[in-house]
Symmetry: C2
């Protein structure tokens, strides 16, 4: 990822409502959620949600797709992964301390029920 889209993605995430939207959309996977479902879950007005979803779509973090009278939004996982890769790699140049912290956080087990391959490998490496 280049600097400018990374900056757009960071700006898009630097907002509580939008971070909440992301956290809601991630478990919804490729199917995503309708704008209205997101709005009611977060207790936000339709126009407010629309504003934030447009910001996230502009930044490439989510995609919209019409399904009947619903507009479904889903996370663009490639873009999200690209942002994290940019931070880890291009920005922090794979600094050992940063990578150790990532592995640490993963081993702490805050989130994933079934960690992805890269995560499992990192954990094994740490425990060796």
């Amino acid at each position: 990822m280049e600097k400018s889209p990374a900056l757009a993605a960071l700006s898009a995430l630097a907002n509580e409502t939008r971070l909440d939207i992301l956290r809601l959309l991630v478990p919804a996977g490729a199917r995503g959620l309708a704008a209205g479902e997101i709005a009611s879950t977060l207790g936000a007005s339709a126009s407010r949600l629309s504003f934030h979803l447009a910001t996230m779509e502009e930044a490439g973090l989510v995609r919209a797709r019409r399904e009947g009278r619903y507009q479904r939004y889903s996370v663009d996982f490639a873009q999200l992964g690209g942002l994290i890769a940019y931070l880890t790699n291009d920005c922090c140049r794979g600094h050992p301390a940063v990578c150790a912290c990532i592995a640490e956080g993963i081993a702490g087990g805050a989130g994933a029920a079934r960690p992805a391959p890269a995560i499992r490998a990192a954990r094994q490496d740490r425990e060796r």
Copy 2:
């Protein structure tokens, strides 16, 4: 990392000048750089730099330490790693697609000369 410091860190990174500061400070490691060095490298005024460095320090991304008449700033790698771990793990719940993208970016070799253990492990996992 909790949501609120993560949000502060994301806001701190969501600005071109501050992203430039980070990219400058990362290779400088623990020693860091004096405020004036950063300012002259980026071609920004002292007061402007001071504003952005204060924002980053507030967010926990950098630390300041006086050395004679110079104020040296260095990256808090633990905090930075914590942010990336938050995004990867707590926020994206270790989603396979996201992790694959991170590994992809790393394998592309944009940055690190000597990848950290977690990174090496991820790469090996991918190539298996």
